[in-house]
C-alpha cells in the first residue's frame, strides 16, 4: 500500500520536473543554463520581502528588510526548501526510491527533507547526532525531532562514532534492498543544493527592483555554507555586482568557513558554466564574532535579539541560527561598523520549531 502510494507521488512529481524544463525556453540567454537544471516545485515562490519598520525605528539607522524564507510550504518552512527543490529533483531523476540525509537532533534541514520526501513519494532515512549532550532529553522531546517522527522518517541515531559510518551503513542497506538511495549531505550544502539560493538571488534582484531599493548588504546566518555561497553566486550570476553577502557564522571561525564557501562556489560555477574566478575571494564576507561557544549553544545576545524582533515585529527567529545572525547585525549597527549601510536585508532562514526544545532559555 505504502509503496504503491509513493510510486504515484513520485510519478506526479516527475511530471512537474518535465514541465518546468519545457517552460525555460522563453527565459533569457543568461538564465538558460540555470533554468535547464531540473527542479521540483515544493513551495510557492517568491517569499515575502518586507520592511521591518519598527526595528528600523528602534535602531535609528538604515531601513532594515526581512526576506521571509521561514514561510514555506514544507512543514514550517526554512531555507532548505529551496535547496531541496533541486536535490529532490536530482533524486527523482536518478530513479531513487529512498533519500538519506543527516544532521543534529534538531536539524531544520532534516525536518524539511522529511517533509519534501513525503510529498514527492520517497522513503526517507535520517542519521541524527547530538551536538549539545547536556540537552539530550530536551532535544529529543519536541521541535524538529518530534516533527521528523510525525512525518514518517526512519531515524537512525549516531553516537560517539559520528554520523559518517551510520550513513554508510544505511546507504549500503538501502542499496542492497534495491532502493537506489540518494544521499543529501548535511544542510544540502553542495553544488546542487546551492542552486536553491542561486534562484533566491534572482528572486531578490527582482523584488528589490519592484520595491525600488538598492541594498548595500544582505545578511544570512551560516553553518554549512550552502545558502551563503548560493546567494552570493545567484546575485552575481543574475547581474547584481554590489550587494555584499555577509555570512554570519553560527558555529565556526571565518578561517574555516571561507574555504568551505569557496569550495561550494567553485562547484556551483562548474554547474552554471562560469569560471571559478567569476566570484572573487574578496567578495566573500564572513562575520565570526557572534557564534558564542559552539553550534547549538545559544548566546545571550542572540536570545536578546530573538526577543527584540519578536516584540518589535511579531516575527519569530530561532535559537540556533537567525538569533545569532541578528545579534551580529544589531551589534554592527550600534557600533557603526557597516560601511555605507543602506536598505539592509536580513534573510530569515527559518528554524523557529527549535524554540520549543530550547524553551528553558526563555522562561522567566
Amino acid at each position: 500500500m505504502k509503496q504503491n502510494r509513493r510510486e504515484i507521488l513520485r510519478t506526479a512529481a516527475m511530471a512537474t520536473i518535465a514541465s518546468s524544463a519545457l517552460s525555460s525556453v522563453a527565459k533569457s540567454q543568461s538564465a538558460e543554463k540555470f533554468d535547464s537544471i531540473p527542479r521540483v516545485k515544493l513551495t510557492s515562490l517568491p517569499t515575502s520581502l518586507n520592511k521591518m519598520a519598527n526595528l528600523t525605528t528602534l535602531m535609528g539607522g538604515p531601513d532594515i528588510y526581512i526576506k521571509r524564507d521561514d514561510v514555506m510550504e514544507l512543514a514550517h518552512g526554512g531555507n532548505k526548501t529551496r535547496k531541496l527543490e533541486f536535490a529532490l529533483a536530482e533524486a527523482l531523476m536518478s530513479g531513487a526510491k529512498a533519500v538519506v540525509t543527516q544532521g543534529g537532533l534538531q536539524s531544520n534541514h532534516v525536518r524539511q527533507t522529511v517533509s519534501g520526501a513525503a510529498k514527492v513519494g520517497l522513503e526517507v532515512h535520517v542519521i541524527l547526532s547530538n551536538p549539545v549532550p547536556e540537552m539530550e532529553a530536551e532535544l529529543k522531546g519536541s521541535g524538529n525531532y518530534l516533527m521528523d517522527q510525525i512525518m514518517g522518517a526512519h531515524i537512525h541515531l549516531a553516537g560517539a562514532e559520528g554520523r559518517g559510518p551510520v550513513v554508510e551503513k544505511v546507504l549500503a542497506d538501502l542499496t542492497a534492498a534495491g532502493k537506489k538511495p540518494y544521499n543529501i549531505p548535511a544542510g544540502a550544502s553542495n553544488a546542487i543544493g546551492s542552486m536553491g539560493y542561486v534562484n533566491a538571488g534572482r528572486e531578490l534582484i527582482e523584488q528589490w527592483k519592484e520595491q525600488g531599493i538598492s541594498p548595500s548588504h544582505i545578511f544570512t546566518a551560516t553553518g554549512s555554507c550552502g545558502t551563503a555561497a548560493g546567494l552570493l553566486m545567484g546575485l552575481r550570476y543574475f547581474g547584481n555586482k554590489t550587494t555584499k553577502v555577509v555570512a554570519m557564522s553560527v558555529s565556526a571561525s571565518a578561517d574555516r568557513l571561507k574555504p568551505r564557501i569557496r569550495q561550494i562556489l567553485n562547484e556551483a560555477s562548474d554547474m552554471l558554466g562560469v569560471s571559478h574566478d567569476f566570484v572573487k575571494d574578496d567578495d566573500i564576507h564572513v562575520e565570526d564574532g557572534y557564534y558564542g561557544k559552539a553550534y547549538g549553544y545559544p548566546t545571550d545576545a542572540g536570545i536578546a535579539a530573538l526577543r527584540m524582533v519578536g516584540e518589535a515585529e511579531g516575527i519569530l527567529l530561532d535559537p540556533v541560527y537567525t538569533s545569532k545572525g541578528m545579534s551580529g547585525v544589531i551589534d554592527m549597527l550600534r557600533k557603526d561598523k557597516l560601511v555605507n549601510p543602506r536598505d539592509l536585508v536580513f534573510l530569515h532562514t527559518g528554524g523557529a520549531p527549535a524554540i520549543h526544545p530550547y524553551a528553558n532559555y526563555f522562561k522567566a
Binding site: A75, H76, G141, S142, G143, L146, M147, Q149, I150, H356
Partner: protein, 38 residues
Amino acid sequence: MAGMIDMIKKGDLDDARDIVFLHTGGAPALHPYAEYFL
C-alpha cells in the same frame, strides 16, 4: 481531518469531487502534546 477520512471511508462522500480541507493552523501546539507522538 479524522472526520473527513472517516466520511470518505464510509462512502458518505461518494458523490463528492475535488474536496478541499482548510488547514486553519495550530501546529505550534504539537510541542506541548509531544508525548502523544514520541
